[in-house]
């Protein structure tokens, strides 16, 4: 039984919008959709601070100062507001900043909104923006893309552990099966291993199904301390049991061991210690499957598999909703779609739905403890959160 403390940080409300190509919507309107849904879910709480998770607006939308933009547009003119940028880990990083502000006691209600507008530009220009999360002077200058970086990892992984491409099929099959039951997902059709095997090559050995689609999206969370959020009969309360963040080298070539996500290891071990849990206690793991190889390396970094064996959990079905360590239960980046800086907020909102029993057809039974982790760049930043359901009195 997990009991609440007055200073627990709770997720009071959440809002998720569909990931896709929203040609007709501005960044601010997309953000407002998620904020409105989250505020409605949270009841009476009025945010005192806004943390906007975003990575690409300065490049793709020619817009900085998203804090003031979003506060004004969301009818919260006057509150303090910031953009939190840690590339694709911005979402988790923003939740952590809100968490720290609430813990300090200076802020009572915090709003986190992850928002990204990708469809503003042609794909080659989007790729120009995405590669900025690597080392501009020593990686991007050579024409490396994010898919190429994943391919460099996957190629070496397959070489060292003597694997063929089909070792990774299970990640994609699971993600699409889960996405099929998520009305917010960009892809809502299941695929099989055969379809994966026939997928065209994107950046060998990364094929089209190994890479997540990057698209528009917004998700929001209202956070507060338990003392300010009385128990409600509508759904169980969920607390952030641990929040942590760590970094590794920004450039892939500077890693001591290419095939170890050190930031993920460090952030997760800190989170486990803070929450007093171990990998075996985690019932759902929303990891950042921007590429299949990221999923394998994340499972290894977080203690669910030995080095070089993360792919086996996909092969044997352990990662499915009925398996021992369900991942990407709403489709993950692969099928839900990856909204870059917003992804970490999607993950935590989805995990919260699992803990509250609101996950629909992909509900994992009786989830008490779950973990969400987003990665910036090629694992240069990792932001990890452990959520727990609080049992009523």
């Amino acid at each position: 039984m997990i009991k609440s403390n007055p200073d627990d940080i709770l997720i009071a409300g959440l809002g998720i919008t569909p990931v896709g190509e929203h040609w007709d919507k501005q960044l601010r309107t997309l953000a407002l959709e998620a904020i409105s849904a989250a505020r409605q879910d949270a009841g009476e709480l009025v945010p005192e601070a806004i943390y906007v998770a975003n990575s690409l607006a300065p490049v793709l939308s020619s817009q900085t100062q998203l804090g003031a933009l979003v506060a004004d547009f969301a009818g919260l003119r006057g509150v303090e507001a910031y953009t939190i940028q840690a590339a694709e880990a911005s979402g988790g990083a923003a939740v952590r900043q809100a968490y720290l502000a609430l813990q300090s006691g200076r802020i009572d209600v915090a709003l986190v909104v992850g928002v990204e507008k990708i469809s503003e530009r042609p794909s080659a220009e989007v790729e120009d923006a995405l590669v900025m999360s690597g080392d501009a002077d020593y990686e991007a200058i050579h024409g490396v893309t994010t898919a190429a970086q994943a391919a460099l990892l996957m190629q070496r992984y397959m070489y060292e552990f003597d694997l063929s491409q089909d070792a990774f099929a299970g990640f994609c099959v699971n993600a699409h099966a889960n996405g099929a039951n998520n009305p917010m997902a960009m892809f809502q059709r299941a695929i099989d291993e055969n379809k994966y095997a026939k997928a065209p090559m994107l950046c060998s050995p990364v094929n089209m199904f190994d890479a997540a689609p990057i698209a528009d999206g917004a998700a929001a969370l209202v956070l507060t301390r338990a003392e300010l959020f009385p128990e409600t009969p509508s759904h169980p309360r969920v607390r952030i049991a641990a929040s942590s963040q760590a970094t590794s080298t920004i450039a892939l070539h500077d890693r001591q061991d290419l095939l170890t996500f050190n930031a993920a290891i460090d952030a997760t071990n800190k989170a486990y210690a803070l929450a007093g849990v171990q990998a075996k206690d985690v019932q759902v793991f929303e990891l950042h499957d921007r590429f299949s190889i990221f999923a394998a390396l994340s499972l290894e970094a977080c203690g669910f598999a030995q080095r070089g064996e993360g792919w086996k959990l996909a092969k044997d079905g352990s990662i499915r909703p009925d398996g021992s360590i369900p991942i990407c239960t709403f489709g993950g980046s692969k099928a839900r779609g990856d909204s870059c800086g917003a992804t970490g907020v999607y993950q935590i909102a989805e995990l919260c739905l699992q803990l509250q029993g609101r996950a629909g057809k992909n509900q994992v039974p009786d989830v008490q403890t779950g973990m969400a982790q987003c990665l910036g760049g090629t694992g240069a930043t990792a932001a990890t959160h452990i959520l727990q359901r609080i049992d009523g009195s």
Binding site: A124, L130, D135, I141, H142, G143, T145, L152, L153, Y159
Partner: protein, 135 residues
């Protein structure tokens, strides 16, 4: 156009100038001033040989806008003989004769990396080609 940005890295781009840590002798590239091995100050220049092996590689067919004119091209992690690993393109490949593979010996050459913006500043720097054995 980012003139100073490229100018200041000439020694790295044209000559693979890195550093050696005088405390633990670690060879460092790119230069970073604090040794990643021992944490001490490292700012003694060291020019690397430019010889190494392919550690991993891939072919890019959907490039960023900046490199569109070169596609498709092969990108690799090259482990240099002195220790550091660098990201670079492979060039002068004849893949029918000699397919790229992990462990392939390569050597540095200077080539055009890309042209910067509409004004067409040409950026040169290191790429790697299959090692030409000297008789």
């Amino acid at each position: 156009m980012q003139l100073p940005r490229h100018w200041r890295l000439n020694k790295q781009r044209y000559a693979l100038e890195g550093e050696v840590c005088t405390h633990c002798q670690a060879k460092i590239f790119p230069p970073r001033d604090i040794c990643p091995e021992c944490g001490e100050e490292a700012n003694t220049p060291l020019t690397l040989s430019g010889r190494g092996q392919v550690y991993s590689f891939t072919k890019v067919s959907q490039p960023p806008a900046s490199h569109e004119e070169q596609a498709p091209y092969t990108v690799a992690l090259v482990k240099l003989d002195e220790g550091p690993t660098v990201t670079a393109q492979l060039t002068d490949l004849d893949e029918n004769q000699q397919p790229v593979e992990i462990g392939m010996p390569v050597e540095m050459v200077t080539r055009k990396l890309y042209s910067d913006g509409d004004r067409g500043l040409l950026i040169y720097g290191y790429k790697f080609r299959p090692l030409i054995r000297q008789s």
